[in-house]
Amino acid sequence: MLKKTSFYIGSQDAFPALREYWLPFVLAWQDISVRYKRSKIGQFWLTINTFIYIASLGVIFGTLFRLNLHEYLPNICAAILTWNFINTSISDGCLAFINSDSVILQIKMPFFTHIIRTVTRNLIVFAHNIVIFPIIALCVGYGINFYALFAIPGLLLILINLLWVCTILAVVCTRFRDLHQVVISLLQIIFYATPVVWDVKSLPKDVSPLFVTLNPFYDFIDLVKRPLMGQPPGMNEWLLCSALAVIGWCVALCVLGKFKHRIAYWL
């Protein structure tokens, strides 16, 4: 009885994949290193490009809107880095199965392996980019304190959430190919609606604060941003993101279990 449920079938895919985590790690590392194989400074182009993006955006917006660069720059740096990680993971996640079609059609391995590969690949990019934060903080003389260590469990919680989001999207986007474009557009809207480059304090009085507090992406970003900015981690975001993780994983395992046998047919 139990063995027939989608949830069980889904977990029989996900947990073996997690046990054999080294395979998606090797593949993810490969994905990154091959992109920069023939360049002199290799994957540090990732860091340089992001640094230029954040520094120019920070200085231009900060000057235009007369913001305090001392606080604004590290703020948007932490927010943009976290947002980029979430954003690229989700949009890559939609293609997790489609891009691995040749592997899926020849080698039987858990479908979840391809999800881990996608998220890990983006985590590696994030790890390259995070060094920008101390550099920017140092440039503007913003002090970092020991709360910054809480960014690590925060990142882990984001990771756990991304895994279920990507699982659901990968399954659905393989079946309905147009959905990937829809997801990209939605992410664009979310980027503008979430306090990434703008601050919550600048929200007009007549706009309900629920606009921000009900947005889970705001909480996700705060998981990493607040500790990096030297603030204690907030109870709210931790509770909300943990609850989302539990519910999301249950749904994702059911979806994966229900459609696992169909994925190869859709490729």
Partner: protein
């Protein structure tokens, strides 16, 4: 102990973007591939396999034969556990390795040595096993100093050598092949054939799809002849091969 048990297995592909097909297309497709059917007026399905029943146990060496589009590749994928049949029963036990595209997982920018690791990992070898086998694979490939050069600098013969050496270093229980693997010049070919037969000796169940009569006769004890996704004939090698090759 490895086994494969298929009972009345069918495989149907949904085609979501198929437009209305003309009669000409229909007739044309019937001649080469499986059957195409329209379901409830909207969803088109391709029946790739229908009503396949087969039992394989340790020691079985089966050959698949049939013209293009008869469903050989689809059946190979059913055996590998990639396609779960849309109808019928299917039970497969045993570590299964398919050598359909032996260059899968290889990266052209990486060195030969890292490609051995990548390809081996892709086939399900654990890091420890890879460490144990890498020297043997490197030696067998005979590529010497080229192992530290990027794969893209290899000649096509060298590329196949490396892929072959790595792909044949596994110990599968069920081995699935689409045509015979062979590599390189005359010298290497002999070494390669020897290695292939060693691999076959270790394998419990062999499934080989091929168009070559000689190859099938040499390696298989049973032949399954597929036509339009159905079993046309299943039996002793010589008997089925005689029928198949005298048909045209």
């Amino acid at each position: 102990m490895a086994f494969i048990h298929l009972k009345n297995v069918g495989v149907e592909f949904p085609i979501f973007n198929a437009q209305n097909r003309s009669l000409k297309n229909k007739v044309f497709n019937l001649a080469t591939g499986g059957k195409i059917e329209s379901r409830e007026g909207k969803l088109t399905v391709v029946k790739s396999l229908e009503d396949i029943s087969l039992d394989l146990v340790d020691g079985d060496r089966i050959g698949l034969i049939g013209h293009n589009g008869a469903g050989k590749t689809t059946l190979l994928r059913v055996f590998s556990g990639i396609y779960a049949p849309t109808s019928g029963e299917c039970a497969i036990q045993g570590k299964c390795v398919s050598l359909i595209n032996i260059q899968l997982g290889i990266n052209y920018e990486e060195t030969g040595r890292s490609n051995i690791k990548l390809r081996a990992a892709m086939m399900g070898m654990r890091p420890k096993q890879i460490e144990e086998k890498i020297e043997e694979i490197a030696e067998f490939s005979g590529l010497g100093h080229f192992l530290d050069m990027p794969f893209r600098t290899y000649s096509s013969g060298m590329q196949i050598r490396l892929a072959f050496a790595t792909s044949t270093s596994i110990d599968p229980e069920i081995l699935i092949m689409d045509e015979w693997l062979s590599a390189g010049d005359e010298n290497f070919k002999e070494k390669a054939n020897q290695r292939m037969s060693q691999l076959l000796d270790k394998t419990k169940i062999l499934i080989l799809a091929s168009h070559s009569r000689e190859l099938l006769e040499r390696n298989c004890t049973k032949i399954l002849w597929l036509e339009h996704g159905k079993v046309k004939m299943l039996g002793e090698s010589s008997e089925v091969l005689d029928k198949y090759f005298s048909r045209s």
